[in-house]
Homo-oligomer: 222 residues x 2
DNA sequence: TGAATAGTGTCTTTCAGACAATATGCC
DNA sequence: GGCATATTGTCTGAAAGACACTATTCA
């Protein structure tokens, strides 16, 4: 079979980069510098190189945009409708990751003019079918937060229970009862208190905990 | 950006076709007629045409192998490791579907020599990375059976509670308690009895039910 | 002592899961 | 009556969810 002779679609990876900033779930978008959709905001992405695995390509895009490596990266879905890109047939494999926004210093890559964090609850007018991709990724993110220990990819080594709860409240965009939430988290046996407490706060300092487990482990949280 | 000038990977769709036959969960495999892996069994699939959406390509492959259209088709995962196909870079988007084996008359397509149903619990020595793909698809199938009404895509319009239970037992490869299972299914409010009972059986005939809802609806079943 | 956040327990309801006897139709 | 399968209810333990007050630190 001489499949080299057939015309082939282009293949890209897009990476949805989530973070929590100011108690709000945010996603990193880049402003397109070239047509099509010049001036519109888009999910960062780029072409997959011929000798590059898909996850490697996604990691590379992440690094180009943020300068950090993901400790969690998950393939989401592949979008390949014939007319999703006016330049021709482009099939994109979407990935998502979560980064700690403190560690990030945004830098513009070569073919984009700007990169910025956007609240996921206030998005509009994105390039391509990226709005649809983001809606899908938010569903997946919530699902992952219900069933896995993904939250710890957004926390420092030591953290408080309130910090966990605030992240959950940002991701689900709703409040949880403090007592029930803490009871549930503690019952999972995935965190343990450390011999330190919060410092430099003008109120009762809280107990610090550390995560014992692997990020992404399956476990019922909510 | 003249992205037409870059070398591009080939893109295929593979389709995992599940059915229940003889109270056993089976998957359709085809015997490869050509190299690489000539003579090995493989998941059916083929190249995506340039003017063809991904789901359409998957539906087409399904029709070529079985002659039926899917009433349920779901994208699973995209496999794209650099060396997964010795002929070159091939990225494959996998889909899964469930068909009623009564309706199927298998036919060989052009580039395969034979198609057969295999028990998912007895697979070995498949072509490419297809073993890995099947393991992944079984996990997803089970997940879907826990949380959705997918089972009804395998049943006729009228069915018995025992038929539902037997399908679940095949999919999860374990037995369920009859009383608890029926209690649970009935509590969901997604089926209703019809004014007929089973005929032509040499034992107490059972009540027939019909499904009220959409296949794939989310709902907690197990 | 006031401000700010940390930390904590009980009750009710729901659901999962264990468990066995009777009913019906056909031969 | 014997065979084969259908149908049915109770109890227990676990977990979810509603709900409000006290504790601690700092300024």
């Amino acid at each position: 079979m001489k499949f080299k002779d057939y015309p082939k679609p282009s293949v890209t990876v897009d990476i949805i980069i989530f973070t929590i900033k100011d108690d709000d779930l945010k996603v990193l978008l880049v402003k397109r510098g070239v047509e099509p959709f010049a001036g519109k905001w888009a999910i960062p992405g780029g072409f997959v190189k011929m000798n590059e695995n898909l996850e490697v390509a996604a990691q590379r895009e992440l690094r180009e945009e943020t300068g950090v490596n993901a400790n969690y990266l998950e393939q989401l879905y592949t979008f390949g409708d014939v007319n999703r890109d006016p330049r021709g047939r482009v099939i994109t494999i979407s990935y998502m990751t979560l980064v700690n926004s403190n560690k990030i210093k945004l830098k513009a890559s070569t073919d984009v003019s700007e990169a910025r964090w956007f609240s996921v609850y206030n998005l509009s007018n994105l390039a391509f079918d990226h709005k649809k991709i983001l809606e899908y990724s938010l569903k997946r993110l919530r699902w992952k937060f219900e069933y896995t220990t993904l939250v710890f990819s957004l926390l420092q080594k030591k953290f408080t229970l309130t910090q966990i709860q605030k992240i959950y409240e940002s991701v689900f965009n709703k409040k949880f009862d403090k007592r029930n939430f803490r009871k549930k988290i503690l019952s999972l046996g995935i965190i343990k208190p450390v011999k330190e407490i919060e410092e430099m706060v003008s109120h009762r300092p809280s107990q610090l905990y550390t995560f014992i487990g692997e990020i992404g482990d399956t476990i019922n949280i909510i």
